[in-house]
């Protein structure tokens, strides 16, 4: 996902929020990962907005994508220049109304944004894990989020929502803990990566690993593989946009010049944009975390995950009411992938709504202001809240 962090145009916000941490799986009670490896202690960064009802039935869990974090809404300080990544959707009176719902946004296991990941300190060596960090899967991420929900005393989640890799976690939640999930809103996502999606991730990973500073993941005491990570981010950004959005946003326009430079500077606006996005990204993200999370996304296959052989069989375990949303210009997770999951849900007699939103902004559309998406989410949440 890209960063489109803008202030709410109406100035509405949940206000100042705080990142919180939950630590569990202290040795000898480590978390057993899907790979069979053990990991502990595990810390998960999270934020909450709104109030939990007395009957604890108004909880909404937001799950973020590759480069996101627990900071979905609000500001860390009064003078914070930017709000959380989904501030347009989460807040008082917004699509996910914090006056009405208790919203939890959990950072993912393997991330570098406050939760345990490859850049965390390995208690055995007292040095960052690096490549000693065990492989984590989407299932492991969800297992950690479950521990967080238990810790918060939430037994039934009104709705689990998220886009992209966050959407994969949504689907995993529905199949892994069906008794806990009343409804789910997977956005711009898939039950398994296509070869195209894996291919882009692999090129991005290769860019990091080709950077000499990467040093087999052991770079925490020296220079970081910034160039590799920046290129990885540039590749990602291409997949988040679309032919049409790039044509509109950049075309062949030149950046700060009227003619070609006849050297390898960033002549075109699109080049300059990608370089800027790449540079900005390395300031806040860890290269190893990027490797681990993209691999987890590539490994994800809902059907395989649940030894069911087919998506239809996998969804037979689910019981949530679904709202599935795709976007017309999303070529990373095209509509046919959403329709596949909708079909599997229908075949299981699940209550499912589906809408393909006409949008030119590619995969990123789920993060951009959209009255349509806001209205859909508001209407759906209201209904499931009344029906619970």
């Amino acid at each position: 996902m890209s960063e489109y962090i803008e202030h709410d145009s109406d100035g509405i916000s949940v206000g100042v929020v705080k990142k919180k941490f939950f630590t569990f799986a202290e040795p000898p009670h480590e978390m057993t990962l899907e790979s069979g490896k053990k990991l502990g202690p595990v810390t998960i960064a999270y934020e909450t907005y709104g109030e939990l009802d007395a009957d604890r039935k108004n909880a909404i869990l937001i799950l973020h994508a590759l480069s996101g974090d627990s900071h979905a809404a609000g500001y860390y300080r009064e003078d914070d220049p930017k709000p959380g990544w989904w501030d347009i959707m989460v807040g008082p009176g917004k699509g996910i109304d914090t006056n009405k719902y208790f919203v939890v946004c959990s950072n993912i296991l393997g991330s570098c944004m406050g939760s345990t990941g490859p850049c965390s300190i390995n208690p055995e060596t007292e040095y960052p894990y690096g490549l000693d960090f065990p492989f984590v899967t989407i299932g492991d991420m969800v297992q950690a989020q479950k521990a967080l929900m238990d810790h918060l005393g939430i037994k039934k989640i009104l709705s689990v929502t998220g886009g992209s890799i966050g959407g994969m976690q949504v689907l995993e939640w529905c199949v892994r803990y069906p008794e806990m999930v009343a409804s789910a809103i997977p956005l711009a996502t898939t039950t398994k990566h296509s070869a195209l999606a894996i291919a882009f991730n692999e090129v991005a990973r290769q860019a990091i690993m080709a950077d000499p500073n990467w040093n087999n993941g052991d770079y925490y005491s020296g220079p970081k593989p910034d160039l590799g990570l920046a290129v990885a981010r540039m590749i990602g950004h291409i997949t988040y946009l679309s032919d049409e959005s790039m044509r509109r946003k950049f075309g062949r326009r030149l950046q700060d010049r009227s003619d070609f430079s006849f050297n390898f500077n960033a002549d075109f606006q699109v080049e300059s944009y990608l370089r800027y996005q790449g540079t900005k990204f390395v300031e806040r993200f860890d290269a190893n975390a990027f490797l681990y999370i993209t691999k987890a996304a590539d490994y994800y296959d809902l059907a395989r995950q649940h030894n069911s052989g087919s998506t239809v069989k996998a969804f037979s375990k689910a019981g949530a009411k679904f709202l599935v949303v795709s976007f017309t210009s999303d070529w990373l997770y095209p509509t046919y992938q959403s329709k596949d999951m909708v079909q599997a849900m229908k075949k299981n007699g699940l209550d499912v709504s589906f809408c393909e939103i006409e949008a030119e902004w590619g995969h990123d559309a789920f993060l951009l202001p959209s009255e349509r998406l806001t209205a859909l989410m508001r209407g759906f949440l209201e209904r499931v809240y009344n029906e619970i």
Partner: protein, 209 residues
């Protein structure tokens, strides 16, 4: 389409009156969801809709209905047998390319089908064609021949013949006289094929065949 006091179109009122409270209903081509919303709020029906247009799908979901965006001919194929008590095709059959296939799917996934369509043999249409020689344009079928979504012309008599040809049973039949957006109308019992603007049929599987 829907008035402020929640009264739905006359043809939809008739359809709604045929549906048992608490049943499971699929509305193919549900539009903005007026009928489903009425059924949900007045008859506690568990409803699903299928609609092609994004804006209408969104309208439905916003008012708390469970609706899928898609092509009705394809979407019906995914449901297991006997998923619904009623499957409704309201004023949509005349736009379907393979009506026989759709009716068969409908009776596979639902116990009963409810089908309604504008009656093309209404005397006004007959007279218009006879008098002017142009393809008829009426309040029920307000299109030119070149921009109409209605690719089939169906009469009440045709539908009865269709039931014999395809092999399904007409369980109930009502002909009405109303305009397309009216909340009021009347039931036509005398010469319906000539005098009714719409035909509404409750159909089921032909057990004998």
């Amino acid at each position: 389409m829907k008035s402020e006091n929640g009264i739905i179109r006359f043809d939809l009122q008739i359809i709604a009156s045929w549906i048992e409270p608490g049943s499971k209903v699929l509305d193919l081509g549900c539009g903005g969801g007026d009928l489903l919303y009425f059924l949900k709020t007045h008859k506690q029906v568990e409803c699903t809709g299928i609609e092609r247009a994004e804006a209408k799908v969104a309208q439905c979901i916003e008012k708390g209905l469970s609706v899928l965006q898609g092509d009705i001919n394809e979407e019906v194929l995914d449901y297991p047998d006997h998923t619904f008590d009623y499957v409704i095709v309201s004023q949509t059959l005349q736009q379907v390319y393979e009506p026989d296939k759709l009716i068969q799917s409908l009776l596979r996934i639902g116990k009963r089908g409810i089908v309604s369509f504008p009656n093309f043999s209404h005397w006004g249409i007959r007279l218009q064609l006879l008098r002017t020689g142009y393809a008829p344009i009426t309040r029920q079928l307000p299109y030119e021949w070149y921009d109409t979504p209605n690719i089939r012309v169906i009469t009440i008599k045709d539908f009865r013949k269709f039931s014999r040809d395809v092999g399904f049973k007409i369980l109930k039949e009502v002909a009405i006289n109303t305009n397309s957006h009216d909340r009021h109308g009347n039931i036509v019992t005398f010469l319906p094929n000539l005098r009714a603007t719409y035909g509404i049929f409750l159909i089921g599987k032909d057990q004998s065949s």
